[in-house]
Amino acid sequence: MARKASYKSFEDLGIQNLGASANLTFSQQTFAESLKLPYPLLSDFPDRKLMRSYGVFNEKTMTAHRSFFLIDPQGIIRKKWMVENGGTTVVYSDTLLRDIREVLAKR
């Protein structure tokens, strides 16, 4: 996973990565261990409250649109990325990092 490899670049910018999905915590634990993820995963199962509150949940398909949010220390969303092609396009960490640096430079 690109994000795992470039985790330190996020850390250096003072960014805490969090992953969220509607999978069971049990399932996420296997997943995280398989990839040796250096950041926590949050389970939005079963009510999918988080996905709904971020406006990325599709009630018809019961899936979330793959997306990224940059939240500042005051809890304000500074940037969001909605992954194209129904969430199948690969988002590279370089893209996220470049955009994040841009946001941080404006502050």
Binding site: R3, G19, S21, T30, S34, D44, T61, T63, F69, I71
Partner: protein
């Protein structure tokens, strides 16, 4: 997202990344994800460590599943309550599984009369591939078919083999990503330790 995509793939696109600037402590979350063996079971913890198994917290229950087996039986996990379960996820193309599977078969033959149940969950292969593999390696423990990958997704399995161990009381004990020395002395000691635990309903010692 197209409905034809396998469930295992469907399950993960919803993963988001919320990036958070500033210094926030997520120590608690990390602790939950990492899991830990309760401190009153040092012997068990030592065995898990030796075998490089990741232990669960004492309250972790594995997701319940049912599925059709190679011999066309409907297998439900609830049938196995009271046994020590070894649930292994595998595929015929998985090279490392070729070592694990016969070893687990031998353990099954040795320990099944005392309450060990090995169950294999295949990763989305057809019945014929599973049948050939079982015949070639002489596997007699139940092999559950998971054509749509739902059970694999339920357990979060993305690499093979991945193996879960469940205690007699139905709680998840530990899991392993990748092959392990299942016939080694520490593995046998672990099985013996778990088999010695009381089954549900039994009078506590």
């Amino acid at each position: 997202m197209t409905p034809s995509r396998p469930a295992a793939m469907d399950a993960w696109p919803p993963a988001w990344l919320a990036a958070r600037a500033g210094l926030l402590a997520f120590g608690l979350l990390i602790a939950i994800l990492a899991g830990a063996v309760s401190a009153d079971e040092p012997a068990l913890a030592a065995l898990l460590k030796t075998l490089d198994l990741r232990g669960y917290t004492s309250r972790t229950a594995p997701p319940q599943f049912s599925g059709s087996t190679l011999d066309a039986r409907q297998l439900s996990m609830t049938e196995y309550r009271g046994t020590v379960m070894v649930l292994t996820f595998w595929a015929s193309w998985c090279l490392e599984c070729r070592v694990d599977m016969p070893a687990l078969e031998r353990l099954q033959r040795e320990f099944s009369s005392r309450g060990l149940a090995i169950i294999g969950v295949n990763a989305q292969e057809n019945k014929e591939a599973v049948r050939r593999y079982a015949k070639e390696l002489g596997l007699r423990f139940p092999l559950v078919l998971d054509r749509d990958g739902k059970i694999n997704a339920l357990y979060g399995v993305i690499g093979l083999p991945t193996t879960f161990i469940v205690g007699r009381d139905g709680r998840a004990i530990a899991f392993a990503i990748g092959p392990r020395q299942w016939e080694s002395a520490p593995a046998r000691a672990l099985i013996e330790t778990l088999l010695a635990e009381p089954a549900p309903g039994a009078t506590p010692r």
